[in-house]
Amino acid sequence: MYKEITIDPITRLEGHGKIDIFLDDKGDVAHACLQIPELRGYERFSIGRLAEEMPRITETICGVCPTTHHTCSGKALDDLYGVEPPPAAKKIRDFIYNTFMFEDHNLHFYFLGGPDFIVGPAAPKAERNVVGVIGKVGLEIGKKVIDIRKRSRNIIQTLGGRVVHPVHCLPGGVSKPMTKELQQEFKKTAEDAVEFAKFTLQAFDDIVLKNKAYVDLIVGDIYKHQTYYMGLVDDNNKINFYDGWIRVVDPEGKEFAKFKAQDYLDHIAEGVESWTYIKFPYLKNVGWKGFVDGKESGVYRVAPLGRLNASDGMATPLAQEHYQRFYDTLGGKPVHNTLATHWARLIEAMQAAENMVELVNDPEILDPNVRNMDFQTPTKGIGVIEAPRGTLFHHYETDDKGRLTKANLIVATVNNSAAINMSIEKAARGLIKGGKVDDGLLNMVEMAFRAYDPCFACATHTVDGRVPLEITIFDTEKKIVKSIKSH
């Protein structure tokens, strides 16, 4: 038998964030930090598993970006088994992946980060959500958002086998080829995606860039850090989400490093702090100087702003026009303003849509040869990909039977973990004075971390516009002054 229950007691938030803000005796902010659950469990759990299971295991780390983990894991298996996927397989993976990037970036703008701007950062909490967005942009636009998202997910479902946890990536290729019939159907979706990306960029222009208060907020000092930036680029240093070189630029925008995934340990180290499970990656050849920015600090940033700064431009024409305008408007490269990430995200959504058009129209994508099974004895495999929220590394080592002896995952949000902490503290210091705290101010603190589109361990993005988050403010005696749960 079952018991009927009311809905209130059901709370099983996983992967929620916790911001602690400590006040000094004047009521100003002495220190602030973000804690998130550890992700290392998957690495230990994977030991002894057959490597070919990894794309299906690691994609369950996250219900928000399973396509990213699945594809990155597939790339690590290519490297592990020494196989190069046939061109059609790479194009199918790339097409699915760009479709995912397009869909996920739009999700963030309309459902997660966008309400802060579309409805307003100080709007009542009850309105600062997707329903408030619908109220502002109109029902018809809302329907367009839902429609293009649904059709994008249909591409992932059809080619990827499943949309929630796709199954298409296999070592050396993909599980099935593209048919002419599907190609015709997806061409229309891709073309409509470009039109939608145009519309969204125009909406950002109208709602955000034409509002002086919002622009002042974006370029203001409380949301600014001068850091290194990292992102994947192609041979021409143009942004590539699926593959390429990992490029790092310094806080002045000069190239600092450019390397392949297999060499990532020569460039990235991970620091630990006693107060959190999460590690803090930094540039090995600069060094860890703590939670500070500047050229002497190895803190780097990934995600849309990091990718734009780390590249010499977008790989597609319409996105490139917006890239140019982005830097012309915000004072040249690199842009250090964290909230500009929202604009960068929409420019990337445009590139993803244009990439979709290019890939689906490529005759080679129809080649039925989508698997190379000329496997070598496995030893070590490393994959890299650009998640919507930043660079992701999968590193596996195995015995000669392909059973894992080591797994190291550096997920996108972890790459940004030091910067997120710095951004939260800086925003808190700038906004909370004399012990005066209200929901609007705390939302503006939260905006500092929401711009990164942080993604915690398990499916925690919520439809009301935020990652489940608890903010607690302590006085000098560590007594709680105020506590807010944003869910």
Partner: protein, 157 residues
């Protein structure tokens, strides 16, 4: 993702996090016992917006999840009857504001299900890495399978 099927049964959870997989195990067992040509059975970790994507177009949706109410015993079975009619609370499942998702669907005048039911099992451990549920939760899985099959008996047998 158009469908001609009228009913969706969706197991929510992570297959590698011990009792978190309870909902998945329930729907996988249901799929073995019913005629799935008429009923869609799916599973996965999904967020609020994805829930909206999943439910649109079906007449009836049954979610199967795991919960920690803090008040029940591990293995206890709950049912939230016709959640689609409850507009008052803030039901969260996997960080989902479930009712907000339904509100969005209604605002967009999407083809929303007439009935959404949520079954859940009180769980003990969703932190450990394991593909098996704890003994208390495992024992309840066959019972919940039969309860759900009984709910849809006239539509699937």
């Amino acid at each position: 993702m158009s469908t001609t099927k009228k009913i969706l049964i969706f197991g929510i959870g992570n297959p590698y996090r011990c009792d978190d997989a309870a909902g998945i195990k329930v729907v996988q067992e249901i799929a073995k016992q019913i005629d799935t040509s008429q009923i869609e059975v799916k599973w996965g970790s999904i967020d609020g917006v994805a829930i909206l994507d999943e439910v649109v177009g079906y007449e009836r949706v049954i979610f199967v999840d795991s919960v920690k109410t803090g008040k029940g015993k591990p293995g206890e079975i709950y049912k939230i009857k016709n959640a689609s009619e409850d507009k008052t609370g803030s039901f969260t499942s996997h960080g989902i504001d479930f009712l907000m998702a339904l509100r969005v669907g209604e605002n967009f005048k999407l083809s929303m299900p007439r009935q959404i039911d949520i079954f859940a099992i009180e769980i003990k451990d969703n932190n450990s890495f394991s593909e098996e549920c704890t003994e208390e939760v495992s024992k309840s899985i066959p019972e919940l399978v039969q309860l759900i099959i009984a709910e849809i008996a006239d539509q699937c047998l």
